[in-house]
């Protein structure tokens, strides 16, 4: 460590103001801070500081995403081998899928971090850690066959127009990862919907066995074909077609557990999204106007991106509600709208993405009302005291 530290100190000079590599200062600082927690000490305010920083916070979220990522790799392989009628072993499927996912992750990180580095240099800020999570989220909510250039465009769109124009991490209105998905979804709908994109190789159509459809449970439901759905257990475990990381509710729940136990993700939002989904599901069950509405409400939790959205997207602290009361309302509305969009809007089989982006817009408004009630409480308190005072004043006059 010490020799590495010495080397860093030696080359550090070149990156400082006036050095020949000063244009890469923020890049150097980013890597330095990645390797070493700085020797900076407190100057004003509290003399000691908590060990937590945003790197730690973000790495916990990344850790929580790992189960979904690993399962996603396995499932990518599994779906592929199923489509060509091969009975693959677990490791074989995993390795196959892992190699297919890796390029998505690399492209997402390279494009996103590249833009972040440039933005940090322009602003003279340190590199922000937010993209550590976003960069992994983006591949996990894409279909495996999405072309890499599309992924790159979506990522660039999300980082530049979704985040940097607002002032960078912490200032964005929308969840950047969802924005990347929305960009690809609306710009290249052919690559984000249908039955072919969810299984590796299906778009090329080679060696596919007869009878393999590759349809996701959601698209089956939209067509009213609820009879052919995989079993609840199969969808819960996640061996179904879908976006890379969204299929396994089990893996996502493990992630949720990590987020909740470490206090990194808001349990209030996670619980209330499921609460909202539950209520809407029950309501639709009660109406039961078509076969989709008749689908038992708990199926919604294991289909599509509902669980993934609830655990990893809705809990984004920047684009979500920031007051504790607001978080309940925010999550609940996401749950309700997700199921509502899903079942009642034939154009989009998946409703979670739009529900969360929609509620991102309303999160500040929710917070506004919560904060206003605090302000009113304070003003009322003042009126009571002033009222009492004028009363005593009057009595003393007589």
């Amino acid at each position: 460590m010490n020799s590495l530290r010495k080397k860093l100190d030696k080359i550090k000079l070149h990156f400082e103001e006036g050095g020949k590599l000063s244009k890469l200062r923020s890049v150097f600082e980013g890597f330095e801070a990645f390797l070493f927690v700085s020797d900076r000490v407190t100057v004003k305010g509290s003399h000691i500081r908590d060990n937590i920083d945003l790197k730690r916070t973000m790495i916990i979220v990344v850790l929580a995403l790992v189960p979904a990522l690993l399962f996603g790799a396995y499932n990518t392989g599994l779906q592929h081998f199923r489509s060509i009628g091969v009975d693959a072993a677990l490791l074989q499927a995993f390795w196959f899928g892992f190699l297919r996912i890796l390029p998505l992750i690399i492209v997402s990180y390279v494009v996103g971090l590249g833009i972040e580095f440039i933005a940090a240099q322009i602003r003279g800020h340190e590199i922000n850690e937010g993209f550590l999570v976003t960069g992994l989220l983006i591949p996990l909510i894409m279909p495996i066959d999405v072309p890499l250039w599309m992924l790159a465009l979506g990522t660039a769109f999300a980082v530049i127009l979704g985040k940097e124009v607002f002032g960078g991490t912490g200032m964005n209105v929308f969840n950047p990862a969802l924005l990347a998905r929305a960009f690809v979804f609306f710009s290249y709908p052919g690559w984000m919907t249908g039955d072919n994109v969810w299984t590796e190789g299906l778009t090329k159509g080679q060696n596919i066995i007869d009878g393999f459809s590759g349809a996701t449970p959601l698209s089956m439901c939209t067509l009213g074909n609820t009879a052919d759905l995989p079993s609840f257990m199969e969808m819960f475990i996640g061996t179904i077609p879908g976006s890379v990381g969204e299929t396994s509710t089990v893996a996502i729940l493990i992630g949720a557990l990590i987020l909740i136990l470490t206090g990194t993700g808001s349990w209030k939002i996670i619980v209330s999204v499921f609460g909202g989904g539950l209520l809407m599901g029950l309501l639709l069950n009660a109406i039961s106007a078509n076969t989709y509405m008749e689908l038992p409400f708990y199926y919604h939790f294991v289909m599509g991106g509902f669980a993934f959205g609830a655990v990893f997207m809705a809990t984004d602290p920047v684009s979500g509600a920031q007051t504790e009361k607001g978080k309940w309302i925010y999550g609940f509305m996401i749950g309700i709208l997700s199921i509502l969009f899903r079942v009642l809007n034939p154009a989009y089989p998946e409703g979670v993405m739009l529900a969360i982006l929609f509620m991102n817009i309303f999160a500040p408004l929710i917070d506004h009302f919560v904060v206003q009630s605090n302000i009113r409480r304070r003003l009322r308190r003042a009126e009571i005291t002033i009222g009492n005072k004028s009363l005593t004043h009057e009595t003393s006059m007589y």
Binding site: D39, R40, T42, S46, H47, I48, T57, I60, I375
Partner: protein, 451 residues
């Protein structure tokens, strides 16, 4: 009628180095004393002495340029040996070398027979008025104001804070009673003494019925006077509440009971780097050098007058602050840590549960002054609320201050807060935002706007 309020939100930072309940011998009395204008936010000092002047205990050293009646006096008799200045000739401290035992006689009188004006005048003359502070703004009180009540906090929950049970045991009861009678004259409202739940009552004068005792329980900042005021008699716009440190009540007692300025107090020497952490009898402004001599474990240390959250950095031969009764010594943290943010962290102090150390809730830590990261924008939400037991939205208030939105600051409760109430928010902040400075800036901005 006594009220008990149980608070849940907050955090007792688990660090080692609390003071043993023992009082060190007289041999530790310091020779040098320093009175520091920087202890008083917003003060523009005007010197009344120069280097070489012979002074008594109670001689004014400087006064507030904007309110000349507010004097700051010497705690001991002796000679002014220097006036230390910083950037732009700002006065940092007036240093006195103690000799002799001369006191200015302010007259010994039972405060029961004095008018409010007389008591105020005597506090002003003697240099004890600055011990009276006010909400809003957490600054020295305005002598002409009518406070709706006065608060005295009878316990301290900050890290390694002096144990007030021990301080109460050693309280000079007659002087404390005299102090309370004097303070009771300063308001038409109540004098609220707030104690830790279960603590014994302090000695009180018989003839004063304005005193009300309340009890609080809970983790830090449950002992902060701002929290007490918020829950018992909150400050609305246009209202003023005053507060006085418990040990300054004794100094006020000394003023009326003996006619002298003698800001005596028990001082807790604390921190992981102190070999023998214990209590010292001393005066406000005393040099910390005698208590630290031969009593520290290592080099490269941070000396703090006060506690680790709100205290002031001083030198190893620096002086105890006007409002402080605690000295803390901890290691400096100016070293790099390889992959510090990624390690499992069984030995890392954190309010969050993101390090393995959270599996050992009883573990005590020896924190240093490392910043543990870099400054970022607000990202994580819902954290500050966990350590601020007030009906206030901390992040929203901080943002209102940053954007200098006066109306919003007012609406969100700026009148009720002080930087010390937000110290834990600053400690736990993953974005490393300097929250205490922001709050102070907000308070200063309000003072400017409202004057």
């Amino acid at each position: 009628m006594s009220r008990t309020i149980n608070l849940k939100r907050g955090y007792n930072i688990p660090i080692t180095g609390a003071a043993e309940k023992a009082i060190a011998g007289e041999s530790n009395n310091p020779i040098r004393f320093g009175v520091k204008p920087v202890d008083f936010p917003g003060l523009t000092p005007k010197l009344e002495v120069k280097s070489g002047d012979r002074i008594k205990a109670g001689t004014p050293l400087f006064h507030d340029k904007n309110r000349p009646e507010i004097k700051f006096t010497s705690p001991v008799s002796g000679v002014v040996i220097s006036v230390e200045r910083g950037e732009r000739r700002r006065i940092l401290e007036v240093v006195i070398e103690r000799s002799g035992n001369d006191y200015i006689d302010f007259g010994k009188t039972d405060p029961a027979f004095l008018s409010r004006e007389k008591i105020t005048e005597r506090l002003l003359m003697s240099g004890l008025w600055p011990a009276v502070r006010q909400r809003p703004y957490h600054v020295i009180a305005k002598p002409g104001d009518q406070p709706k009540s006065i608060f005295i906090s009878g316990f301290d929950t900050s890290p390694l804070a002096p144990d007030f049970d021990f301080i109460m045991e050693n309280l000079p009861a007659p002087m404390f009673k005299t102090g309370i009678s004097a303070i009771a004259k300063l308001t038409d409202g109540k004098v609220n003494i707030v104690l830790k739940k279960g603590a014994p009552k302090p000695p009180l004068p018989d003839n004063v019925d304005a005193v009300e005792i309340s009890y609080f329980s809970g983790p830090h900042p449950a002992g902060n006077v701002g929290i007490h005021i918020h829950h018992l008699d909150p400050v609305n716009k246009g209202e003023v509440v005053w507060y006085i440190n418990l040990q300054d009540v004794i100094a006020i007692g000394n003023l009326f009971g003996q006619g002298i300025y003698k800001p005596e107090r028990l001082i807790a020497l604390t921190g992981s780097e102190v070999i023998n952490p214990q209590y010292y009898k001393g005066l406000s402004g005393g040099s910390v050098a005698p208590m630290i001599r031969d009593n520290i474990r290592s080099w490269n240390l941070r000396y703090i007058s006060g506690n680790v959250l709100t205290g002031t950095k001083i030198n190893a031969d620096g002086y105890l602050g006007y409002y402080d009764s605690q000295v803390t010594v901890i290691p400096e943290g100016d070293k790099y840590e390889f992959f510090g943010w990624a390690l499992p962290g069984t030995d890392k102090l954190s309010f969050s549960k993101t390090f393995l150390s959270s599996l050992f809730p009883k573990k005590m830590f020896k924190p240093d002054t490392n910043f543990h990261g870099g400054e970022r924008a607000f990202v994580v939400t819902g954290q500050y609320e966990k350590v601020l037991p007030m009906d206030i939205y901390p992040m929203q208030l901080i943002k209102a201050i940053i954007t200098e939105d006066i109306d919003l600051m007012e609406n969100l409760g700026i009148y009720e807060v002080a930087e010390e109430d937000f110290a834990l928010c600053e400690f736990i902040c993953p974005s490393k935002i300097e929250i205490q400075s922001i709050i102070r800036n907000g308070l200063d901005l309000m003072i400017k706007e409202m004057s």
